[in-house]
């Protein structure tokens, strides 16, 4: 079959698909399921605009006065992920999420180096996977995903107006011996539980969330979305966790191979450093 014939046949064969149109019922169902566009009255838009301007102004003043970013005082009252870290960033240890590192707890090397970080904490953990966080000299928060060598630095503003922020799965290459890949994220204080939905099978529901989570995702079931719930079981946030996400990480779950022995935490790139232990 020549190239021309290939093309002729292909175009002829696909021709019906080129003119298919959805019917009105299908369009109506889409419109009914989709969220309505944001309806903004001029008064509300104006008020929000001023509030944002005021917050931005406060942030700018703080930057000029303090030489480092500080969360605006109004921010702490807003229940979003930024609020979870606001008190800690202001130096209030009692307001910090999670728990401090224990003396001999394994953490990434740079979490023990005061030139880079201070006040390292564990925000959440599951089955040995830990979400670490520490303050950086520039007033931002640094997260390390499971001691895998993946560090992410954020100013608190990156989390404003969101009850949930999925950080990602770190740098693990394979599902672990249980077929799990850790999925790390942070939440607003009001979030009490999170749920990971799948293309196939039941969701993974985790209670007792306090500022962050580690979900043991099963790549073979097609992780789809993380939902966040408050104490009244009302959904307060959601984020896609597949390769279509336009906010946060795009994750191609098909790249994780079959279950394989887990790389010990002390052998992960972020922990091993230039002189890895002999067991690595």
């Amino acid at each position: 079959m020549s190239t021309t014939r290939d093309e002729t046949l292909m175009r002829a064969a696909f021709a019906p698909a080129r003119t298919i149109e959805p019917n009105q019922d299908e369009i109506a169902r889409v419109v009914a399921r989709a969220p309505r566009p944001a309806q903004r009255s001029s008064f509300v838009a104006s008020a929000n605009g001023w509030r944002r301007l005021a917050a931005a102004g406060l942030a700018a003043v703080s930057l000029l006065a303090g030489g480092a970013y500080a969360v605006p005082a109004t921010r702490a009252a807003i229940d979003d992920v930024a609020g979870t870290f606001a008190g800690w960033l202001r130096g209030e240890e009692a307001a910090a999420p999670g728990r401090p590192l224990s003396p001999n707890e394994l953490a990434p090397d740079y979490f023990h180096d005061p030139r880079y970080t201070r006040d390292a904490r564990v925000i959440a953990e599951a089955d040995g996977y830990k979400l670490y966080a520490a303050l950086q000299p520039d007033g931002t928060v640094e997260f390390d995903l499971g001691n895998t060598g993946v560090g992410l630095g954020f100013s608190a503003d990156a989390f404003s107006d969101r009850a949930l922020y999925v950080l990602g799965p770190g740098s693990v290459q394979n599902a672990d011996e249980h077929g799990h890949v850790p999925l790390f994220g942070v939440t607003a204080r009001s979030v009490r539980s999170v749920e990971l939905t799948y293309e196939q099978g039941p969701p993974l529901h985790v209670d007792g969330v306090d500022g962050g989570f580690v979900l043991l995702a099963e790549p073979t079931r097609g992780p789809h979305e993380v939902l966040a719930f408050d104490a009244q079981r009302e959904m307060v946030g959601r984020q896609l966790v597949d390769d279509s996400s336009h906010y946060g990480p795009r994750i191609d779950w098909e790249t994780y191979g079959p279950p394989a022995p887990r790389v010990p935490a002390q052998c992960q790139p972020g922990a091993a450093g230039p002189n890895p232990p002999s067991l690595c």
Partner: protein
């Protein structure tokens, strides 16, 4: 929306995106129709079941509208819809792989709904070719199927297909070549192609 119109309206689509973001409910239906149409054409070309293709198209359109605030460039609406379609179509293929049930081949389904040619030997030949192609396509890996559909249904370039599939343009070229070569190897299809092209 004919295929030519599909490629000639990006600025008006971007305008609808801006209207939607500004709170104009009328834009919702326009964007829903466009997303649904693009997705339905791709899905119908590779999924073979009309019901399944319709479900995928609706899910794609809902996803597209739901997260429209995150689309940075309103001119990229179509490209974005193609990318969402790829994700949903791959998921549907995986689901079908797990539970195969009776399927209506695309060729028969779409021909029944959209008779393209008058009755006669040419139409019979074309129908036969489409039927055979639908079966042959089902044997190709999902990404090859999608690459072929995006090229021959939407006339996308290698770069545009790469953006939809999330791979490099070079990989698209390879996907298309392998897909065409596999179909070329189908003896029945080759015979029909020869007849259609008058060879």
């Amino acid at each position: 929306m004919d295929p030519e119109a599909e490629r000639s309206q990006p600025s008006s689509v971007a305008a609808e995106v801006r209207r939607y973001r500004a709170g104009d409910t009328g834009a919702a239906e326009v964007l829903a129709r466009r997303a649904c149409t693009l997705a339905l054409r791709t899905a119908a070309a590779i999924l073979r079941s009309g019901e399944e293709a319709s479900d995928v198209a609706q899910d794609v359109a809902v996803d597209a509208l739901r997260s429209l605030a995150k689309l940075r460039d309103p001119d990229a609406f179509d490209a974005w819809v193609h990318r969402i379609t790829v994700r949903h179509a791959l998921r549907a293929i995986r689901r079908r792989g797990r539970a195969r049930d009776a399927e209506t081949p695309l060729a028969l389904l779409s021909e029944a709904a959209h008779p393209a040619a008058p009755e006669g030997p040419d139409r019979d030949m074309m129908l036969a070719a489409r039927d055979v192609l639908a079966a042959a396509l089902a044997e190709l890996p999902p990404k090859q199927r999608l690459a072929l559909a995006l090229r021959y249904v939407h006339d996308l370039s290698d770069a545009e297909i790469a953006a939809a599939l999330g791979c490099r343009p070079g990989s698209v070229h390879a996907l298309l070549s392998r897909g065409r070569a596999a179909l070329r190897g189908d003896a029945q299809l080759a015979e029909l192609a020869l007849a259609i092209s008058g060879g």
